[in-house]
Symmetry: D2
Subunit: 262 residues, 4 copies
């Protein structure tokens, strides 16, 4: 039941974002409840100039206790160049070669810009990074990212923060079928635990989300809910989900008479 | 996190059917893995005249060990009269006043017959049964069943054994809003763990299924998957699922510059 | 391309409601633009005590010109008895044995009450009416209505006025397959022309709607749009919609070289 | 109700493909029944080396009679270079600067390759072509195509020949909102008239399809069905589709008593 991400063995398939929590304490508790072993962190944050109010320290402390990994991201970048610079800063600050590469191409959908993304990935791989690209669900773009040296892909389910779930399951299923062996992590758009379970049932390898936990009525319990749903979806995938039938099939076939219990 | 069904306190919201498993041993292992504390059993079974090959004994043994409850059903009945007679037989055989009332109105959909169902429920309540009616998702029919004295409702998600998931979430949501306080258990049609989680996120109280576990590649692991997914969906409901947004909302708002970690 | 409803030959499969239009003139123009040959009219209307502001006269005038038929309805009734009385009044007032039978069972969904509906239908058929029952999409209830002597069924697509489209296409498809030869008219819930076309592609016989036209920005053009969409959906059904494929199939197979045009 | 495509005024918003018809006569009849004023034609066709069995001649004859326009396509190309060469051949053969640019990036989905597509579009615009790019529904890619000089975009609804309808209506709606004024024509994946109407209701400008007509039981009637559905969807869009309501809203408000007809 374990899996491997860049050579590190993980038991959880849940990757959690660290933005937008009410307090550092809630963030700590949510990470613990989630079971997530990878937590993303942005460099550019609201009020960043004024400090981060203790969030990063809280995060480091939690991960030190759980043995989890930090995954810095380049949220807010709009060009390959911006993202490359930020990734290098992140490597210094967080002491990790992992980078979640975000290069946004539209203010409305906050969607990845495939061109800038591929360009940034090519450079960062050359610079020795392990690049986790936040990408669209487009197969050709995904192949370009693999050609650029990415070993993991993070296709979106829906726009960041929308909570709409998987807008195009067909595209994700296509990625799974056409890219066997490549770790695929749905990133963005997940709103409810059932969405996360659905992604796992499609055979994807993990789920990354942030808003659905941070904006929940009770972020800590929601973190636990997602942790369970993701494990459940994976287990269901491994156990083999039944085929859909177009009509009813009696679960209790009847062709005898009531029997007597011995 | 516990809930109450006819005065019995339960920790699991998963109700499992016992038909169609490869062997009694697999059934036992699946019940244990599921965490289900209520297991349904049919009186009319294939080859029933020739005995049940040890399934019921296996079931009794498992439930004795886990403290679970048997819920006999009237699968295969087509009239109120048939169902009433079978219910009385079940009470004798299984020594319980609980009865899952199934009165099928169509061979193709195996859907409940609202008229026969209400008629049977009225009689069985008078006869002292605790009736769990397998019903459609129709609000007026559900109210009739409550008027007849049912204290739990089991609306379908989709035709039995179809694995299609929730065909009409709107109808289930309507039942939840219009019948607050009534235990609602989705029964039939669930195919994947994500379907079960979705039902729980709608605020329903439990999920009953059979084929999705019995027909899985690995029924025991699938039983565990559903157990987790149902718990996850409930937890998500209680934690408050975020509202869907029509567009992207940055989870990592950006209006400062990269900050330095102290 | 014509079809028959209670012995009358019709060319249009669109049945239009007459409530909620901005003015009698708009209603007249909408009926004409729609091509509808059957128009429903309610007896109980807002401000009815104060007269109907000329709507019914406008309607009669339009139908006289187009040779269309009035279909009085019992909108607003909650019991069989109320509906029966209103139906008899309607027969006197409108001089027709046709009645669209509505018996509402819930204030929130305005859904039909299957029990009251069947009871009313039984009586009205005995009284010589041609009953068009507004019913749910439940197969067993539909069979009861046929047993009661109804020759047409009008299952809902979604709650009245919701514009949600077909909430449960599976149920409608089931009705079509299980009730061959029975005229099936989707009534209520249609919001957009594409919803109406979808209903026709399922093999249903007609579409009745009101709010989607009356509440449109431009009711007259919307009436025309629905008229075309319903005709298009029917034509598509008759022409045989292609089967869905799980993957791409080249429409332009390529195995030669570019050819020269002679 | 007319619209303009590259300066030519058109009354129909239906663009039809010409591949896969049973015979030239059926193709001719289908084009006529469709009302389409733009018909695509591939250069690389099955058995092309052996001639095209009269299809292109039939097409030219039909378009000459209806005043329609030929839109040659580069179906089957896998690189920008291939497509550029084929486009130049097409200009010679068909005597038109219009080219539907297809550069396929995957054998399974037959999806566009965004990179090769943009590269080919840039060159062809420089070479004086009016490029109609068959593209994905990705906003950033669409903007690149506009930057390259395309004045029309043809995003897919689903993989070619799949008949699945609009797999991601959200993405198409986003294109519409973010690219106001740009003619958007859904190309590929449409299976039923209702799918085409839905695309038009989203505010897109046209629909291009082939398999749904060519593979229908009766291609000629299906061509007519799509022609009507597309016109209906557009008319519905212009008339203003009602907003969806979460619950029922009486179309026939009732607060008086039955009124008497004067």
């Amino acid at each position: 039941m374990t899996w491997t991400l860049d050579g590190r063995t993980l038991t959880s398939r849940f990757l959690l974002g660290s933005a937008g929590y009410p307090s550092p304490a809630v963030l700590q508790a949510a990470v613990q409840a989630s079971g997530a072993q990878v937590v993303t962190v942005g460099l550019r944050r609201t009020h960043a100039a004024a400090g981060d109010n203790g969030f990063v320290a809280a995060l480091r402390e939690t991960l030190a206790a759980t043995g989890g990994h930090l995954l810095p991201n380049t949220a807010g970048c709009r060009t390959a160049m911006e993202a490359i610079i930020l990734a290098h800063m992140a490597r210094e600050l967080f002491d990790t070669r992992w980078i979640k590469l975000e290069v946004v191409g539209d203010d409305y959908t906050l969607q990845p810009d495939p061109w800038e993304l591929v360009a940034a990935a090519e450079q960062l791989v050359k610079d020795g990074f392990e690049v986790f690209p936040y990408c669209t669900d487009d197969l050709v773009t995904c192949r370009r990212l693999l050609d650029a040296g990415c070993q993991v892909l993070m296709p979106w389910g829906a726009p960041i923060g929308s909570g709409q779930g998987l807008l195009n399951p067909f595209a994700l299923r296509t990625l799974r079928e056409r890219l066997p062996g490549v770790p695929l992590i749905v990133d963005a758009g997940i709103g409810a635990p059932s969405h996360a379970a659905q992604a796992m049932e499609l055979g994807l390898d993990g789920v990354l989300l942030n808003s659905a936990v941070a904006q929940a009525g009770d972020p800590v319990r929601m973190a636990a809910a997602f942790g369970q749903a993701i494990a459940a979806g994976r287990l269901g995938f491994e156990a083999g989900v039944m085929a859909r039938q177009d009509m009813a099939v009696a679960s209790t076939p009847v062709d005898g008479r009531p029997f007597l219990i011995p």
